[in-house]
């Protein structure tokens, strides 16, 4: 009897207070987290139209069958997968490099951290709007690339070409979240004891060897964590793609799954089908979240 149901005196009073403190949150999560996810699952078995007065028809797995055959849905899966892979890999590599470089400096550490982090505090809509202008045919994007590659007058069609527009969304997202993940890496780096590096350097290791054989293996938990976190972040992307399509970019290449859910529910009024998509998104993200939990538990390094 570790937590007896009935206790006397002060212990019982305390346990009642504990329950009293957590009840508001429990009620909240029941109504606004658990109830909706079960509703999503339930609704996904019905043909339900928004604003329709008819009772929804039970159609079992037909929504899922439809989605699995729908090229539009598979396009969304492709767009989301391409975006996620194309964004999280540069983020992880670049932020790992930046974190190592920053930590190796004796001065301006604070400045670089703040500078790299600053885009992350802006709202995604503002970020998308700034980059819409940069990616304008007359904008800074073309000017800078033409200056770097000495190719005056070339239009790179950042928002018009179907491949370029995917790359553009990746650039925007990497730009926004680079500093955020750099900081997570910096914290990971500072937890590696300095004595480990010193021991390696005394043994004659070069700086590169120190990085490759000491830093990288000891940093593995942080690297895995950053990878999973950035993947989860990318799977949820919405604002950038939404704003880009509003700004005139073609929809199909960047029709990520959240955008598709939004359009299916709000424009096409197909709540059942949108719920089925939500359930699929939920399970995809569940796998990644489970991975994140497993990783942050099992991958602990002892120095």
């Amino acid at each position: 009897m570790k937590y007896p149901l009935f206790k006397s005196g002060i212990e019982q009073k305390k346990s009642r207070w504990g329950l009293f403190f957590v009840i508001p949150s429990i009620l909240f999560f029941s109504l606004f987290s658990f109830y909706p996810i079960f509703t999503a699952l339930y609704t996904s078995f019905f043909r339900k139209k928004l604003l329709s007065l008819q009772p929804p028809d039970f159609i079992a797995l037909q929504n899922y069958a439809y989605l699995l055959k729908s090229p539009d849905f598979w396009n969304s899966i492709r767009a989301t997968a391409v975006f996620t892979i194309g964004t999280f890999i540069p983020i992880v590599i670049l932020s790992l490099i930046l974190a190592n470089f920053i930590v190796s400096r004796k001065r301006f550490q604070q400045f670089f951290q703040m500078a790299y982090y600053s885009p992350a505090v802006l709202s995604s809509v503002v970020v998308a709007v700034i980059w819409l202008l940069i990616f304008d045919p007359r904008g800074l994007g073309n000017q800078v690339l033409n200056f770097l590659f000495n190719s005056p007058g070339v239009d790179h069609k950042f928002l018009a070409n179907s491949i370029m527009v995917q790359i553009s969304t990746m650039v925007v997202y990497s730009w926004k979240y680079l500093g955020y993940f750099t900081i997570i890496f910096i914290v990971g780096l500072t937890t590696i004891p300095q004595s480990t590096h010193e021991a390696a350097l005394i043994d004659g290791a070069s700086r590169w060897q120190d990085f490759y054989y000491i830093t990288l293996p000891l940093l593995k938990p942080t690297t895995v964590l950053v990878s999973v976190m950035s993947m989860l972040q990318c799977l949820k992307t919405f604002s950038t793609q939404y704003l880009f399509t509003q700004g005139g970019a073609p929809m199909a290449p960047i029709n990520v799954i959240t955008l598709n859910i939004y359009h299916t529910a709000i424009r096409d009024h197909r709540i059942g089908r949108a719920s089925a998509m939500s359930v699929i998104l939920f399970f995809i993200m569940l796998i990644f979240t489970w991975l994140q939990f497993r990783v942050s538990r099992s991958e602990e390094v002892s120095y």
Binding site: E11, S15, S33, A40, R105, Y117, V125, R207, L243
Partner: protein
């Protein structure tokens, strides 16, 4: 022998200078890449549209072209609705921040410092909501909020975000290390549990609460998807929605668009510059997070 050794140090000195300059160049280059769009936003916001789209972009504005800000605030139809939308964003983001901090602190305190039947189950349930992304439940949430008659209202914008698992987890971890002896001493002196929370716990958890507050405020300031779903009238829209509307209304006036974006960013940037340690501390929290 001696000479050879000296030569080697000289060589490695040169190579370390090269490596060092490369690192500085890389850091500065990246900083320029990261900061240039921000600078672009603010400089373009005080330029006439013809200058914003000039090739090459004139980085230094000739004068301050305030008309952009006037046009952004006034709106293309002269309705000044942006002021109302900014107010809405402040109301929603501040309310959500206040409720999240209070509820997370209370729940985290209850979970960390009280033993009651089912405590671990409650904690596991709350952690399970980590696995339910907002994007997966937004459609049923929309149905719930509509059924409650809260669409197109402040309540509708605020209620789904009253508290979140991350906040509770953060506060619980913070309280767990708090010494029980102090709480017991207060109890012996006759303090009620509510008084203990108010007079001992709250004043001692300001850093954790501030971190949670800035992160919550930032994410609400950024929220586009939920208002898009439940707000229909112009009066109830928030800043991100106004920007969406401004783009589709008049895509050509780039100067005014950047003014609107600057106005949307100034409050959060001020918050960031004043409270950067909480923002950065909030990001850093994740790396030491253990389930």
């Amino acid at each position: 022998m001696q000479k050879k050794w000296q030569k080697k140090t000289k060589n490695s000195n040169i190579s370390s200078i090269i490596i060092n300059s490369f690192i500085w160049l890389f850091l500065i280059g990246t900083a320029m890449f990261v900061l240039a769009p921000l600078v672009f936003m603010f400089t373009a916001s005080v330029m006439p549209a013809s200058d914003v789209m000039k090739m090459p972009f004139p980085w230094i504005p000739k004068g301050i072209y305030w008309q952009n800000y006037w046009q952004g605030i006034r709106g293309n139809d002269g309705s000044f609705i942006y002021i109302r939308n900014i107010l809405n964003s402040f109301i929603v983001a501040s309310s959500v921040t206040v409720t999240t901090v209070i509820l997370s602190a209370i729940t985290g305190f209850g979970l960390a410092k009280y033993r009651f039947w089912g405590r671990n189950a409650v904690f596991m349930l709350i952690m399970a909501t980590f696995m339910i992304p907002f994007e997966a439940i937004m459609i049923p949430l929309y149905l719930v909020v509509t059924k409650l008659g809260l669409q197109n209202s402040y309540q509708g914008l605020i209620i789904p975000f009253l508290v979140n698992a991350f906040g509770i987890f953060l506060m619980r971890q913070y309280f767990i290390t708090f010494p029980d002896e102090i709480l017991d001493a207060a109890r012996i002196d006759g303090a009620s549990e509510m008084m203990i929370f108010r007079t001992i716990i709250v004043p001692n958890s300001i850093p954790a609460m501030a971190t949670l507050a800035v992160l919550t405020f930032k994410s609400q300031w950024d929220n586009l998807l939920w208002p898009l779903l439940i707000v229909q009238s112009e009066e109830m829209k928030t800043i991100p929605q106004y920007i969406v509307r401004f783009i589709s209304e008049k895509h050509t006036d780039e100067g005014a668009l950047m003014a609107v974006a600057s106005i949307a960013s100034i409050p959060i940037l001020i918050l960031f510059l004043r409270l950067s340690k909480y923002f950065i501390g909030g990001a850093a929290l994740f790396s030491s997070r253990k389930g």
